[in-house]
């Protein structure tokens, strides 16, 4: 166990130097990209906001089911199959048919080539589960149909969230999917997430609808209230134009009224629709509706055919900027709820870093002093291993650009405390072996060999705990599991290569001395 070949000595030294170098690169600036890696600081250390958003898919599902009913009606009408009594109760579409059509409909709905109930071969499932009871059919989203629906709505939402966050221009935001209905937004350096929260909290569904003069509109009417809550208005359900047709929006100053407005421009289809509607509707009031609330309802004085217009409505410059931003980034497919928020101010983050480094330094010093007191020369060897262990650990975290959190720093300090365990096990074993074996080289060798399984056993148990924590834990706690787990690996390396190398050099040089350890 004590013999080291030249090649191995060189590789140990090279390995240690490389990782120590990466550890130092955190504190030195290099021009080269590869060499100037840094550990990422977690939000709890650099300050920032963590938001977990959940999509409320209810409205999307209802919308899709309503669309499905229309599709079903049209589809079976073309096939000249009569269906009646369509209804939507909860998430179930149901309809009735005549007795002689039952088999036919069943075949159409359960056919793998069906173009009305799509079959997904990868999931071995249709989009809808079909149940029939006599002549009554009910359709429900199948498990996979629902998963696909949620995924597509999540994909859309994450795109919109990204656009909105990017527009605000925060520093390196991190936007990630979580499951099939959640989005994680990490905003480093942001200590007041109010603006982002209010931007993400809005669906930003913009529509233009005429205020109706009489209650007999062909499309039906609905009662909507104004944004400021001052009054209600009866609005036609016919949507002239929606936010989808917008290509740009920005806050501007209306030179005539001297108020801040949001001016927008439309795509070609939108411009055409808008032109047509405004030329027939001169004199009418056009309500501009955002998420079910009327922002303003100006009267149409003349047809607007240029494909651009303005939205007015008591804006401050900030609120106009935000509305323009929302309109530019597009509407969310469904409302988002913020279900978890964690914000750390930058000065608390700095305090945590300072406290973490101070306690690391003190813990390190205490352990080092204790080991020298206990083992003298071998304490020094264990300490050298401990120092290189720390460099290796920080070097590896840097190389992989891992995220360091406050619990992560605690994990490093804990590694310092537990790392000496392996060397202690070896040294104690050697002490025992020396009692029966006078040749120190044989005794040392036996000490290393006999303690090996114990050391592996002991470290694997901690590694198991770290692994489970890594997969189950979230945020800062995950950072702890990373440093704890990587710490075990670097500990084993520093004990079996660095400390053993130093021990072998020391023992061979002093083999004639009485009582080495």
């Amino acid at each position: 166990m004590l013999y080291f070949s030249k090649l191995r000595i060189i590789s140990v030294i090279v390995f240690t130097v490389i990782f120590s170098y990466f550890a130092f690169s955190n504190f030195v600036k290099f021009d080269d990209k590869f060499f100037s890696k840094n550990i990422n600081l977690g939000l709890d250390l650099q300050g920032g906001s963590y938001l977990l958003l959940e999509i409320d898919n209810r409205p999307v599902i209802t919308q899709k089911l309503q669309a499905k009913i229309i599709e079903l009606k049209r589809y079976f009408k073309e096939k000249q199959i009569t269906l009646k009594n369509f209804s939507l109760k909860g998430d179930t579409i149901s309809f009735e048919t005549t007795d002689n059509e039952i088999e036919n409909i069943k075949n159409i709905l359960n056919d793998k080539e069906s173009d009305i109930n799509t079959y997904y071969p990868t999931y071995k499932s249709h989009e809808f589960d079909v149940l029939e009871d006599g002549n009554l059919f009910s359709l429900n989203y199948s498990r996979y149909g629902l998963v696909l629906l949620k995924n597509s709505s999540l994909d859309q939402a994450i795109e919109i969230v990204r656009r909105r966050v990017d527009e605000v221009g925060t520093n390196e935001p991190n936007i990630l999917k979580r499951g099939n209905d959640r989005i994680l937004v990490e905003l480093p350096g942001l200590d007041d997430p109010n603006r982002i929260k209010s931007l993400l909290g809005k669906t930003a569904n913009l529509t233009f609808q005429f205020i109706s003069q009489n209650n007999e509109e062909s499309f039906g009417t609905e009662k909507l209230s104004f944004e400021d809550g001052s009054r209600d208005a009866i609005v036609s359900k016919r949507i002239i134009l929606s936010g989808d047709n917008l290509v740009d929006a920005k806050p501007t100053m209306n030179s005539q009224t001297n108020e801040t407005v949001v001016s927008f421009s439309l795509d070609r289809v939108g411009a055409k629709k808008f032109g047509k509607a405004t030329s027939t509707g001169v004199g009418k009031q056009l309500a501009i509706v955002l998420d079910g609330k009327i922002i303003s309802a100006p009267s149409v004085r003349e047809p607007i055919i240029g494909g651009s217009g303005q939205i007015s409505g008591d804006f401050t410059f900030q609120s106009a900027t935000d509305l323009a931003l929302l309109l530019r980034s597009g509407a969310l497919p469904a409302p988002l709820n913020i279900i978890e928020e964690r914000t750390v101010g930058p000065d608390l983050g700095q305090d945590s870093i300072d406290a973490g480094i101070l306690s690391l330094f003190i813990g390190f010093l205490l352990v080092i002093l204790f080991m020298i007191y206990k083992y003298r020369a071998f304490g020094l060897i264990a300490n050298l291993a401990l120092v290189s262990n720390l460099f290796l650990l920080i070097g590896i975290l840097t190389l992989f650009e891992a995220t360091l959190t406050l619990p992560g720093i605690a994990g490093i300090i804990l590694t310092v405390g537990m790392a000496v365990d392996a060397n202690v096990l070896i040294f104690e074993r050697i002490k025992e072996e020396t009692k029966n074996e006078k040749n120190p080289i044989i005794a040392f060798d036996a000490g290393y060999t006999k303690s090996r399984t114990t050391i592996l056993d002991a470290n694997i148990t901690t590694l198991i705990a770290a692994f489970i924590l890594f997969f189950m834990g979230s945020g800062p706690v995950k950072g702890f599991s990373v440093t704890l787990g990587v710490g075990i690996l670097t500990t084993l390396f520093s004990v079996y290569f660095i400390a053993r190398l130093l021990t072998s050099v020391y023992v061979v040089k002093n083999k004639d001395k009485e009582q080495l350890l």
């Binding site: 978890e340 945590s352 973490g356 205490l366 352990v367 405390g417 148990t461 834990g473």
Partner: protein, 297 residues
């Protein structure tokens, strides 16, 4: 090598442990744990006031006027730092926190919100569930590992020792109403790893000695093994505790609960690997035949 008769006190310490476990369980069942916002949901605000005359009751009064449900206020390190927790959480309203800040500023002067955590009921119950799963999973993984490496008598000893440590550590948290949050789960998992580590070292030696001496009864054999590994047990506990005390004293308020749980865990883990794990080997009458039989299979 030391020669302490640990085995003379097996019975006494077993009774003590049993009493501690019963007390812990009684507290855990009837008083329960003081869950933080991570697991209970609600809002946590760490605030720093500019006015030094502010005290807990003043701050509690101003929060109580805001209809936020149950409010708890605690000092947090510095004279001017406080942790406020309350039931209500409304992260969907972007003005929620701002409004609280404005109201506070008018009643107790300028405040700085250093940290805000807002956890909804759905997330908190999920976090609790995944915390419990993580701890159970790690216990199961440890059991499996030691079952593969040792005979079942040893596994039982090691697992009971771990349960002992976890129950008593949580019991102390319950008795003193210390807060249970995500980092405590991490601490408990690490305790599980550490306690196992300590037990495995002694068990390895027990097994080695079982092979070596066929004529020594397990009662004395465990004592020899404990003594042989004692200096390692003490040195490792001391260095780990040095590191942990350093976190506890200098690592800032946020890591206090975590390091306290770990300190308790290391102390009980060291104790249990001597006084829980070994007496179980004695009770199960482990002998050379136990390991020889296993090795023949």
């Amino acid at each position: 090598m030391s020669n302490i008769s640990f085995n003379k006190f097996y019975r006494k310490f077993n009774i003590l442990s049993l009493i501690l476990i019963v007390i812990s369980l009684v507290f855990l069942i009837f008083k329960g744990l003081n869950y933080g916002v991570d697991f209970k949901g609600g809002t946590l605000i760490e605030l720093r006031t500019t006015d030094k005359t502010n005290n807990i009751s003043l701050i509690r009064d101003s929060f109580n006027q805001m209809n936020l449900g149950d409010v708890s206020v605690k000092k947090f390190g510095n004279e001017t730092d406080f942790i406020v927790k309350f039931e209500k959480q409304n992260s969907n309203d972007p003005e929620f926190i701002q409004n609280i800040k404005n109201k506070l500023s008018s009643s107790i002067g300028d405040v700085d919100f250093r940290r805000v955590e807002n956890v909804g009921p759905k997330v908190s119950s999920e976090l609790l569930k995944s915390g419990i799963i993580a701890i159970s999973l790690s216990l199961a993984a440890m059991l499996l590992y030691i079952w593969i490496r040792f005979e079942w008598q040893f596994s039982l000893g090691a697992i009971l020792a771990i349960f002992h440590d976890v129950i008593i550590t949580l019991g102390i948290f319950s008795i003193f109403s210390l807060e249970i949050n995500l980092s405590i789960v991490a601490a408990v998992l690490t305790i599980v790893g550490y306690s196992m580590n300590d037990t495995v070292v002694i068990f390895d030696r027990v097994r080695e000695n079982l092979r070596k001496y066929s004529d020594i009864k397990i009662f004395d054999l465990t004592n020899i093994s404990i003594n042989e590994t004692l200096s390692r047990t003490i040195i490792t506990s001391v260095t780990t505790l040095l590191a942990l005390f350093s976190i506890y004293l200098f690592g800032g308020e946020i890591l206090k609960g975590f390091s306290l749980a770990m300190i308790l865990g290391v102390i009980f883990g060291t104790y249990s690997s001597i006084y829980i794990a070994n007496p179980i080997l004695v009770a199960l009458n482990v002998s050379q035949r136990t390991i020889v039989k296993e090795e023949k299979d």
